[in-house]
Homo-oligomer: 119 residues x 2
């Protein structure tokens, strides 16, 4: 195994577009709220401020979650995976995480070839 896997040094493995993948869960309920991407600046801002920042691939800009909606994500714990290309943020959400107004972006279950609304 490599130092990146076993060590205590933060050494993020950004992809060809300079991004990591970040999964956000609700620190209280454990529910997966959303999945988004971070460049080096978004990662630094998240760790410095304690509030989740991402890189919007569609808008090609840095984005603080909740900057317009107010639904910020306060980071309770940040974990990194074995090869340091993914983050798990355990957060306290100030409101719905999804732009549709749903608490989580994952509001549909796949069942018998169809999508079924969970809530």
């Amino acid at each position: 195994m490599t130092d990146r896997e076993t060590g205590n040094t933060i050494d993020p493995k950004f992809d060809a577009n300079g991004l990591l993948t970040a999964v956000v869960t609700d620190a209280g309920t454990g529910e997966v709220l959303m999945l988004a991407h971070m460049n080096d600046v978004a990662l630094a801002r998240t760790l410095d401020s304690g509030e989740a920042h991402f890189w919007s691939r569609s808008r090609q800009k840095l984005w603080k979650k909740g900057e317009s909606s107010g639904n910020v994500l306060r980071v309770v714990e940040a974990r990194i995976d074995c090869d340091q290309d993914a983050l798990w943020l355990r957060c306290e959400p100030a409101g719905p995480a999804c732009h549709t107004g749903a608490r989580s972006c994952f509001y549909r279950r796949i069942e018998n070839g169809e999508l079924v609304r969970v809530r």
Copy 2:
């Protein structure tokens, strides 16, 4: 909002490399176990078999999780996100999910600029 966001039709939005991102949690504990990618074949095999299949970007091949280690992931529930480019698989893991032998790939917390082993 679009049909992709509100409808009941599975209409995955594969990225430029033909991939979705999949996050796996332990259906029992809620812990995030791993994050990986799926092409159309991996998605179909996962839904048909009830066991998680992925696309290995490094090896450029289809991969059934646990095919060599035996540590398969039985899918209890599969959810898809608002824009259908990410999946959340709630699974029963047959053993450690991480190739390092850890239960979860996310075995280190970021704390004061360093990584701290969680378990």
